[in-house]
């Protein structure tokens, strides 16, 4: 069965149930690993009241295609979907969905985690937080985390 990749960057809410259904039907694949990232509650006492995502249209899709193609060269995979939301979001909204099917659960898990690790370190999305304090409303860009780069290193070591 031909491999099918789904890549979408969208401003509207993700539909996890629909994304999961779309991954099904490849009857040779007994394993399906999924990851969903949501907007976390902001730390206690924080003045953050919302989140927005900016991206680099064109390069985003190209990067996603590249990391999917690299995952396919490492593992035997069936269907792959990466859907990422951009624009303004609220707490508990889903930001990203990654789904991978495979005949083998180890491959499905590894590929799903690999795609998330690469997405976190090289696909051009940027988060900014809306801040509301006594002096009024403002915005601040979320800083990249060192731990994401460290996670990525394990894939080159292998």
């Amino acid at each position: 069965m031909k491999a099918v990749d789904r890549i979408e960057v969208r401003e509207t809410p993700l539909d996890v149930a629909a994304e999961y259904s779309a991954l099904q039907g490849n009857s040779g694949d007994g394993a399906c690993a999924l990851f969903v990232g949501t907007v976390r509650d902001f730390s206690a006492g924080s003045d953050v009241c919302g989140l927005a995502l900016e991206h680099y249209p064109g390069m985003t899709e190209k990067s996603l295609q590249r990391i999917i193609s690299d995952a396919r060269s490492r593992w035997s995979l069936g269907r792959i979907a990466i859907v990422h939301r951009v624009g303004p979001m609220q707490i508990n909204d889903e930001i990203v969905f990654v789904g991978v099917t495979s005949p083998h659960r180890q491959a499905a898990f590894a590929a799903c985690q690999y795609l998330m690790d690469r997405l976190k370190t090289e696909v051009p999305f940027w988060k900014r937080e809306a801040v509301s304090d006594p002096s009024g409303k403002s915005e601040r860009w979320v800083e990249a985390r060192e731990s994401d780069a460290v996670e990525m290193e394990k894939w080159s070591a292998g």
């Binding site: 390069m59 976190k120 696909v123």
Partner: protein, 81 residues
């Protein structure tokens, strides 16, 4: 003609998301040097160690050669997902 894009924090700091370089030949590193010369107030931000560069929508090193018609981008580390 080279299209130069800026994203996220960098876009806000420079106060622009896109400029055009009319007559340029050289590497991506050369292009950054020229931008810093033309806009001395951009220099500190554009030369930060963590700024990433893309050439035609692919991550690229300072040595990459830029040709007329190319699209170049500068941006801070990504924070999606």
């Amino acid at each position: 003609m080279v299209k130069v894009l800026f994203f996220a924090r960098l876009r806000q700091q420079l106060g622009t998301g896109e400029i055009t370089l009319g007559d340029f030949s050289g590497s991506l590193g050369d292009l950054r040097t020229i931008l810093c010369e033309q806009h001395p107030d951009w220099s500190a931000q554009l030369q930060r160690d963590d700024i990433r560069m893309a050439l035609n929508q692919e991550l690229a090193e300072p040595e990459a050669m830029v040709n007329s018609g190319d699209e170049v981008a500068f941006f801070p580390p990504v924070t999606g997902g």
